[in-house]
């Protein structure tokens, strides 16, 4: 089976695929080499991520990872979310990926962390 069942499940039935009312941050990014797009909005309270919503379009890996990532990060401390790395994403996706597909998987992490950093910069 090419794609893990969990991955396909997140692609077909994404979690947190929604908009946030009055988000504390909203960032969106595009990978021009393949057209994958991810936008993430979030709400923070007491240095924790209280809610996340994502939207976007693109390949299975980019969209499913966004779903998994938002599910993983809601309720976590902002600092913890900022330490998530490439290896955490690889573990989440559960697939060996070459450099091209890895870029797809890392897009939502990039967007989330940029969003969280932009908040820190404002302070």
């Amino acid at each position: 089976m090419l794609y893990q069942e969990e991955l396909m499940d997140h692609y077909k039935y994404p979690r947190n695929h929604k908009t946030i009312t009055s988000p504390d941050f909203a960032i969106s990014e595009l990978n021009p080499s393949c057209g994958d797009r991810i936008a993430i909005e979030g709400k923070i309270s007491d240095d924790s991520i209280s809610d996340l919503g994502f939207s976007g379009s693109g390949c299975v890996i980019s969209q499913a990872t966004a779903s998994m990532l938002t599910e993983h990060c809601i309720g976590k401390k902002v600092d913890i979310a900022l330490t998530l790395s490439k290896n955490d994403i690889i573990a989440m996706v559960g697939l060996e990926m070459g450099p091209t597909r890895l870029k797809c998987a890392l897009l939502s992490l990039q967007v989330l962390q940029h969003g969280l950093l932009s908040l820190q910069a404002k302070k």
């Binding site: 090419l2 794609y3 695929h17 994958d36 797809c104």
Partner: protein, 427 residues
């Protein structure tokens, strides 16, 4: 043409399941090419143009014989018009910095097409930025996928026409029957412009005839015509050899050197600084031998067009059977008769996902923008899947590809909520 027999010439296919549909990215190599590299290092390894011992002399002789072989292969008038480079990209950068930059000023125009590969676009963007020259693009008709009124874009301000012979995304963009490209080159010369042809994609599928085409510069890469990677050819018309500066300076390309200055050797040595990839040159020679001995370009065209036709029929049937929309980026009628590749996008499915699925089944195809982002954007598509054929591909492989493509689409095609991924914008 006995394809099954030809496949045996290519070691990569033996003992493994591989359906290789990415020849436009790089061609697979016959054993004779692979052997040429090993044989050079085993029996002939010596630097060229320097040694006074037998090994050095023989290495030089074979290197120069290959130069003659390349000249004959593309019907260039003189062997010294053939310069060895690392590849197409280096060849274009070479001419951009060693001739074009010195001869263009503010307001001059460089004419390209909208279908250029980044290798034949970015060097000219840089030249335009440095000199104040302007880039002008011959449009691609989005119904015929051929150039639209190309002669309109050649004016008295045109100093360079730099165009692809054949697009790595769309296939043929010139009307061959009307000799459109030859006529455009004649027109460019008539206004005093020089002409560079990017033949990277064409060299494997069309007989290149320099004397018929009459460009000033022409580039291609060895690895796309079954030679090794790391070797390419830059053709420079002899009349321009004095006007073109060396691209790199250093060893081999000098006549005399003092501490303060140097004078150049005669061409082609003037244009080949440092130790050359001699083994790769031998490999390129072996690739030309293989083509000369085993491939008839007319038969190859028929073979590849037949595979394109099967593929297009299959895509149309798929559209009908599982009710999806497939956009073929290319002139279907032309591709059925003359094509060697088919690029397409499927509504609701990302090409990367299809390519990954097929890759896991040992079917090699290419997905993305194919180093032609402006062209793909022009088509209002994010990303295209490309199937490209070579002499070793078979009708059976096309059938298997279509079966697996069907499975991939069934697995991946879906909609969630109100969002359905669509690589084709505006639908």
């Amino acid at each position: 043409m006995d394809i099954a027999k030809k496949r045996q010439d290519f070691p990569i296919f033996s003992g493994r399941k591989l359906i290789y549909l990415d020849t436009s990215a790089t061609a697979q190599k016959p054993a004779t090419v692979i052997d040429a590299l090993a044989r050079f290092y085993t029996y002939n390894n010596a630097n060229t143009h320097r040694g006074l011992y037998e090994l050095g002399e023989s290495s030089t002789t074979h290197y120069e014989l290959t130069r003659e072989k390349v000249a004959q292969f593309i019907n260039a008038k003189y062997p010294n018009e053939i310069i060895f480079t690392k590849g197409t990209t280096e060849g274009i950068n070479f001419i951009a910095s060693s001739w074009v930059e010195q001869h263009l000023t503010h307001g001059d125009e460089i004419v390209l097409t909208q279908a250029e590969h980044h290798a034949n676009l970015l060097p000219w963007q840089r030249v335009a930025q440095k000199t104040g020259a302007k880039l002008v693009f011959i449009p691609i008709d989005l119904e015929t996928y051929k150039t639209q009124n190309p002669e309109k874009y050649i004016t008295s301000r045109t100093k360079l026409l730099a165009v692809t012979y054949s697009s790595n995304v769309l296939g043929d963009i010139w009307d061959e029957r009307k000799q459109e490209l030859e006529n455009l080159i004649t027109l460019a010369h008539a206004v005093g412009a020089r002409v560079l042809i990017d033949a990277a994609q064409a060299v494997m599928h069309r007989r290149i005839d320099i004397q018929k085409l009459n460009p000033d510069f022409l580039v291609f890469s060895g690895h796309k015509m079954m030679g090794p990677m790391g070797i390419g050819v830059l053709y420079i018309k002899q009349a321009l050899h004095d006007a073109v500066q060396p691209y790199q300076v250093g060893g081999s390309m000098v006549f005399s050197v003092s501490f303060e200055q140097a004078t150049w050797a005669a061409s082609p040595q003037k244009f080949e600084a440092g130790t050359q990839p001699v083994a790769e040159v031998f490999g390129l020679g072996a690739a030309i031998d293989y083509i000369n001995e085993n491939i008839d370009f007319d038969q190859l065209r028929q073979h590849e067009a037949r595979l394109c036709s099967m593929l297009i029929d299959g895509l149309e049937k798929l559209e009908h059977d599982i009710k999806i929309k497939i956009h073929i980026a290319g002139n279907k009628n032309w591709l059925r008769e003359h094509g060697h590749l088919v690029s397409f996008a499927i509504t609701g499915v990302h090409p990367h996902d299809i390519a990954s699925y097929l890759g896991a089944k040992n079917i090699a195809v290419r997905a993305g923008h194919h180093c032609a982002q402006p062209l793909v954007n022009l088509l209002s598509i994010d990303s295209l899947l490309r199937v490209s054929f070579g002499v070793y591909n078979t009708p059976e492989e096309v059938e298997i590809f279509l079966q697996e493509l069907t499975s991939a689409v069934k697995l991946l095609c879906h909609s969630f909520g109100s969002q359905e991924y669509n690589p084709v914008r505006g639908e």
